[in-house]
């Protein structure tokens, strides 16, 4: 498993698009700092962009990690005695490593820039970071599962961008028809609820739900993968 993870890390680090994602994610805190004292409208716009870029980075890093499916190199790994589950988990782990490395760089840059410019940070910063971490666990599990099962980059990108928007719609429909509010348990809504009130109680609640999502997504992924042919 360790060797598989090393291979996936090398694959990720050799992908130029990974650095493009990193550069794009770094732009937002710098822009935020630039407009922080002058243009509050711009700051809220940057906040929106930051969220979207974060999501896009999560999607693309998942796809970069599953990219070798396109190249047919997966069979070289499975044919040497590694199981599909090992390969799948190694990709998930490396997508998390990639994302955390990226966010760590962004966090350090943001922190240094803000402190240097005499700007404060929120008192419940630790809760916010932990919430973000678990959100990444869940989202990444979802996107890696989709990317690995779809096999093609284009269809994976489309699915990763649209499927997360289809679920809330379906859940709203359930609410309208059956009067059961399941939408509040969807990934984004869990995060929104926490952001509105970042307390320890809400953090525990989000950790529980994000962890459940991770288990469900990874379970679905491994189950489907078991019956899948390796190309």
């Amino acid at each position: 498993m360790n060797r598989l993870i090393k291979l996936q890390i090398r694959n990720l680090l050799r992908n130029k698009l990974f650095y493009v994602c990193l550069a794009l994610t770094l732009i937002t805190p710098i822009a935020n700092l630039f407009f922080a004292k002058t243009d509050p409208v711009m700051v809220s716009f940057i906040g929106f962009i930051k969220g979207e870029l974060g999501l896009i980075s999560t999607i693309f890093i998942a796809i970069f990690c599953c990219y070798d499916y396109n190249e047919g190199t997966t069979k070289n790994i499975i044919a040497r005695g590694y199981t599909k589950a090992q390969l799948f988990f190694s990709k998930y782990i490396v997508s998390l490593i990639g994302l955390f490395a990226m966010y760590l760089i962004v966090f350090i840059v943001t922190f240094v820039l803000f402190i240097k410019n005499g700007m404060g940070y929120e008192s419940n910063m630790l809760y916010i970071i932990i919430n973000s971490m678990f959100k990444i666990f869940a989202e990444s599990a979802f996107f890696v599962t989709l990317a690995f099962l779809l096999e093609k980059n284009t269809s994976a990108i489309i699915a990763c961008l649209f499927v997360p928007n289809i679920f809330p719609l379906l859940l709203s429909l359930v609410k309208t028809k059956l009067n059961i509010d399941l939408a509040k348990y969807w990934l984004d809504n869990i995060s929104d609820k926490f952001s509105a009130n970042p307390t320890l109680g809400n953090l525990n609640w989000t950790i529980l739900f994000y962890s459940l999502y991770v288990i469900v997504f990874l379970f679905i992924g491994t189950r489907i993968l078991k019956r899948k042919e390796i190309k």
Binding site: R3, E71, T73, A79, E229
Partner: protein, 297 residues
């Protein structure tokens, strides 16, 4: 004899269609096993099932006397269908990446690149390689980690005659010097017949025969041809030694289809009768002809 691969009753179905029907195959250590069958016979599917790339419906696969692929994976190299390459990476980088999981150092990588004739490709990306070069890189990847058993599916596809010879020489060298066992499928039957020590013939998902190369050669030895100056007189003389229906005159030559081992006797009788024998030789079916006969083609 130590078994390197043993399959027992492998069945594989695709939406109700049986593509492998109870395949039981046994490959011994040191074999170069030529796996032959027409398109769609099930060669690639069997190799994929053996390597766990395709789930099977029934049957068992074991390597090196009852071990599973998960236990011996690093001892088994393969090239199945098109080579799986990192297309944006050089030949060296491809081997470097796979060496992380197969285990091989830089000197080994360079040695393998040299062996397959790709040591001078530098930073050129795999996507810019010719079909033959990609094929050779696929073989190079299969050779990483010092495997004891190599499964090569159509390894000489897309290679020019020189490339075919090179790969043939590499296979023979590895078999002889490192005692690597091979399972090779190929459509180029005559090419396969130059290296294989055993053959397996598959037709419509059924393994119809496993045969040693020597035995096959004997089976293919099917007629004795005698060229002489008087065929009708020669036929009369030979009729006393061989059944009449086993003697045929073809293109002014005599063909004998039984008791080929008595060729010296036939020659003596003809010469004693004053017939001038200009040539006497055994004719062989090619592997292709034998294969066509076995599958009823």
């Amino acid at each position: 004899m130590e078994s390197v691969l043993k399959t027992n009753g492998i069945i594989k179905k695709y939406s109700g269609n049986t593509v492998l029907n109870g395949i039981s195959m046994n490959i011994h250590k040191g074999d170069i096993y030529g796996f032959i069958g027409k398109n769609g016979a099930g060669k690639t599917t069997l190799m994929r099932v053996v390597l766990s790339l395709t789930p099977k419906n029934a049957g068992e696969v074991s390597f090196f006397d009852n071990k599973k692929i998960e236990e011996v994976g690093l001892k088994v190299g393969s090239l199945i269908e098109s080579p799986g390459l990192y297309k944006n990476a050089s030949a060296y980088e491809n081997l470097k990446r796979f060496s992380i999981i197969y285990g091989a150092d830089d000197s080994k990588i360079n040695e393998i690149l040299k062996l397959v004739g790709l040591s001078n490709t530098g930073k050129r990306k795999a996507k810019d390689f010719s079909l033959g070069m990609k094929q050779r890189l696929g073989i190079a990847i299969a050779l990483l980690g010092d495997p004891e058993f190599l499964l090569l599916d159509e390894p000489i596809n897309g290679l020019d005659p020189e490339g075919i010879k090179e790969i043939r020489d590499v296979i023979l060298k590895l078999n002889k010097e490192k005692n690597i066992t091979f399972l090779i499928s190929s459509h180029l039957l005559d090419e396969l017949s130059k290296i294989a020590t055993r053959f397996g013939i598959i037709n419509n998902g059924v393994l119809i025969e496993e045969i040693e190369a020597k035995e096959l050669k004997n089976k293919c030895k099917n007629k004795l041809i005698i060229e002489c100056d008087n065929t009708s007189k020669a036929k009369d003389i030979l009729s006393k030694l061989v059944k009449k229906e086993d003697i045929v005159i073809n293109n002014n030559n005599i063909e004998i289809h039984s008791h080929l081992e008595k060729s010296a006797d036939y020659n003596k009788k003809l010469v004693d009768a004053g017939i001038s024998v200009t040539a006497l030789y055994t004719s062989f079916d090619s592997l292709e002809e034998y294969f066509m006969k076995r599958i009823g083609g």
